[in-house]
Every structure is written in structure tokens, then in C-alpha cells.
Amino acid sequence: MVDATNPRGAKPKPRFSGRNIMLYGTLIVICMYYILPLWVMVMTSTKGMPEIRLGNIFSPPVEITFQPWVKAWAEACTGLNCDGLSRGFFNSVRILIPSVILSIAVASVNGYALVNWRFKGSDIFFTILIFGSFIPYQVMLYPMVIILRELGIYGTLWGLVLVHTIFGMPILTLLFRNYFSSLPEELFKAARVDGAGFWGIFFKIMVPMSLPIFVVALILQVTGIWNDFLFGVVFTKPDTYPMTVQLNNIVNSVQGIKEYNVNMAATLLTGLVPLVIYFISGKLFVRGIAAGAVKG
């Protein structure tokens, strides 16, 4: 815990020292590097095609138009479908919500059981689980396809939900295990003496104390699943493509003229969800990461 009463940090230095100019100069250059593409995208997406052809990619639009955004959302064509990204968006939402809920629910119980209800072989179980996170996904693609086919859910949204839940398990379990092991063990003991069972302790004692780590898990899963392309393209069919796959199809379509403004708008739309999540919960995220890292 930081002691707020004592002075901390280095001695204050003059504002325009050579060191500060170097430091902030570097920071500004790096910021520009990251902001420029975004700037170009936003500007391009609000220009008409004639203006884009002039080639001034950094300049703001002379005539602002939101037509590309509308087209990207509702009219852009991929193959035979011409309903834009909206279909992909709703597919992604339908994949995202059950995947996030299911993976966090299972992983939190996993972590809790691994810390507080240690069973014979729980260490080995955990080691195997963690090992799973080091295996490249590509190795498991084909076996997964066969498993889903045998289960009869290949190509459905639920198939993809299952895949996301499984592949999220190692890192999420690790996250929850570390967080729960940082909670005092005596609390768990006290609850047992008080007659609470496995689920009673989990829901009444552990979960209410673990909001930060649930937020971290939520952010990791939402961004991870939303941005996923590989699983989406492998495990779904054109009707159920998630937004990222559809974005790719729109941007990479070879027919007709390249509508840069529509492509830019589509890309921004796709990136909006994780961005919003970060803005809303950034503070909780940092707190949760820090809390989870205390003990491992």
C-alpha cells in the first residue's frame, strides 16, 4: 500500500531541463506514431471517394460525409450478402456473450477449487492446464474440427462458443487461481467453520471479494474473443461469420473499385467494441491486474 503522507518519488526538477525535453519529445513522437493511423482512418472514412483520390491522406475532409459508415454497417457486400457488417456484428455478439459468461464461470470455479479445495493430483492438473496455454492454436485446429463434427455442432455458433471457452481456460484459470490464493486462507476456514459449503463459500465469500479480477477476466475475454479471426474463419460458415471475418471479406473483396472510405469505416466499427470496454473499465482493469499479481 502506498503511504500517502510521506513524500515520494524523485526530487522535483526544473520543467524545461534538457532531460524533460528529451523525454517528452520522445513520448510525443511515439504517440504520433500510434495516433497517425487512427487519424488517417477517421479522416478517410468521412471523405467521399473523389476527395480520397486527391491523395491527401492526412488532411481533414473538405466535405464531411457519413455515407461510408452507413454503407459499411448496412450495405457493403460480401459474396451474395449485401447487408454490410451488421450481420457480423450480431453474430459476434451472439458468440461473445455466451463464450465470456461460460469461460469466466468455469475458470473462476476452477481457480477457486485449485486454491481452496485441493484434491489429490490438483497440482498436476494445474500444470497440464497451464501447459495448454503454450501449445500453438494451429496445432489443435484440425482435431477441434473433428471433435465439433462428432458433437454435431461444427459450423454453428455454439461450436465456436465451446472452442472459445476451452481455449480461454488456461489463462483464465491461472488468473483466478492467483487471485484467490492472495485472499486470506483464514477467511475460507472461518466460512467452513460457519457451515458454508463449496458453493456457499464461493458465491457468498469469494465472489463478492473478487470484483477486480472478474473485470480483468471480462476484458481479456471480450477483447480476445471479439478480435479472434482464426477460430471464427475455421469453425463457422458464411452465415455465422463473426465481425472480424466479415470485415476481412469486405476489405479484401476483389470485385469493383476499392472503397477506401467504406473499408476504413468498417474497420473502425469492428474495433469499437473492445475500445469502449477499455474506456469504461480501464481503471478497474489496472487494479485487478495489480491485485492478481501480488501472489502466485
Binding site: 483464514e186 477467511l187 476456514k189 472461518a190 467452513r192 467453520v193 460457519d194 457451515g195 463478492p208 471479494m209
Partner: protein
Amino acid sequence: MTNSIEVKDLTLNFGAVSVLKKMNLDVAEGEFIVLLGPSGCGKSTLLNCLAGLLDITDGQIFIKGKNVTWAEPSDRGIGMVFQSYALYPQMTVRGNLSFGLKNAKMPQPEIDKRIARAAEILQIEPLLDRKPAALSGGQRQRVAIGRALVRDVDVFLFDEPLSNLDAKLRSELRVEIKRLHNKLNNTMVYVTHDQIEALTLADRIAVMRGGIIQQLAAPQEIYNRPSNLFVAGFIGSPSMNFLHGATVESGRAFQFGSVKLDLTGYEGGAILERSKAILGLRPEHLTIQDHEEPGKTIAATVEIDEPMGADSLVWLEADGGLQMSVRVPVERRMARGTPVHLKVDISKASIFDSGTEQRI
């Protein structure tokens, strides 16, 4: 009197490490037992076994005559108070107190009644709607005791409950726990490494080392007649003076260096003649005097004088560089280097066999 707790041949191994070794312990109804020992001696482990928080390797545990060896913690009729208080942070004091009762599906009016009673006994009524974070250390520990109290249990288990408190609060709560015991007359098992707590609270103290109870006796007995060298050295501050020597003249005298002490009046077993023995003398069982009495005094030189308020401790060097401490009334200041004679009260001394380390 029936036994409240009976522990039979309790054994606990963590992998290859044996933590508790064939332990037997009977606790009478209403008795206050303190488990005392250095860290790692298995005292907290024993308490966790009694509470049912650790699965034991072998043996049996009875509480109130009922075999609870494999019973759930909540079914054993025990309440437990932890060192870190272990209050549920998201619940109010009232929520903390009622959690166990709600789990037992007790009707609300009965819960309210019990909380009111516990709050009154512990004087925490104004705190009932606060969260633990808004309480001081002493208040938290009181709530933790209350959590055991409301469950109306036969046995209270305390796991170093005062270790996280500062010295002043500790002595206050110590008295309060004693008062609580007088009032409720429950059986209490109390784990501590603080010998003052042990000596003041206990009806009987179990001094433990290496998973074995070294001595189980009343505090005075433990203090005055420690059963072995470990107990003698562990209890008492500063610790007992140990003189390494031999018993001679068929056990009538103790010889170390050139000094020979008369053992007439020793309270213990047959001393016999032993080539190696240890004489234990507590600092308060020695008196400083100017003149020598053959067979009753040890010559020594004053090294350091430590005034402690009520009395003072004098550290001396005896024959052969042996360091000794003596407790003397505070009026008497001793200058460094003063040659004195220490008179031994042999009736309060302890003699140990060097080999077995047992008291004779």
C-alpha cells in the same frame, strides 16, 4: 467430569514430514487449555485438526463423546477465532455474526436474539451495522469472538487471537477472554507462542515441540517443575540458568567446577550419582548476598544491571565464565565488577539428566 475433547493417537503427515506424532490429549469440560510452543511445533496444526480443517492421517478425535474424526467443521460443535480475525469484509458485523446461523437455517428471531446477546457480552452493540474495515483491531477481534459465541458451541478454538494486536490491547483482551471464560464456562483451546498469555489464561498448558506434547500441566507446575530441559528453557523470561555439572556423594550434592552445592531439600525423584547432570535455577530463586555459605552459595561477579521497573535483572559471571541472571528488588543497584555470592534455593531448583534431558 466428562471429557469435552479427547484426542487419541492423532497422527498427521504432510507427505514425508510428520507433523503430529501419535498425540493424545484429554480436555475436561469447561477447561482452558493453552497449546504453547515455538513456531513449527504443530500447535496450530493440532488446532486445525480439532476444527476439522485438516484431514488427519491416523487417530481419532472425540468432542463431547461424539466421534468427529471425519465430521465437517460446522458439525463439530466448535467455534474458531483466527489470528487475522478472518471477518468477511463485504458483510456488516451483523452479517458476520449471522452468517453461520443462516447457513444452519436458523429462524430469524432466534438469530436476532443470539446476536443481541453476543453483542451485549462483548460490548459491540454500536458496531453491528459497520463493515469490518471501519473497526479497530481490538473491535475486529471482539467480533471474531462473537462469531464463535453466537453459534453457542461447546468448544472455542483460538488460533493466536491476540498476535496481531499491540501490547496494550493484547493485555486488555487477554483479561477479557479470561472473563468470558469465567462467564461462559466453555471448553477453550488456545494456541499461542506467548508464554505470558499461556501462564495467565490456562488451566493447563500443553508445551509442544516437534509434534509432541512435552508436558501437560497447570501453569505453576510447568513453571516450577518443568518435566524436561526444553520446557524449562522455553518457559520463563529470562530463561532458567543452567549449570552443567555432576551429582556426587550418592546424589547429596551437585558439583560444577570447584563449587559444590548441597542438594538437601530438593523436591523431585531420587537423584543418585550421575557423572553428567544439569542444575536449573530460575533467576528469582537466587538471592545476592555478600558472605559465602559453603554448600549453599555460588561466587560470581556483577556484569550488567538492568532495572525493569518493578524489579531489576542482574547479569553475573560465575566460575568458569558461566553467565547467570538473577532477579532482585529494584532498590538494590549493583556496580559492575562487584564480587558477590548467590544463594541457591534448592527446594525450587530442577535437576535434569544430561542424557535424557528429563527432570529428576
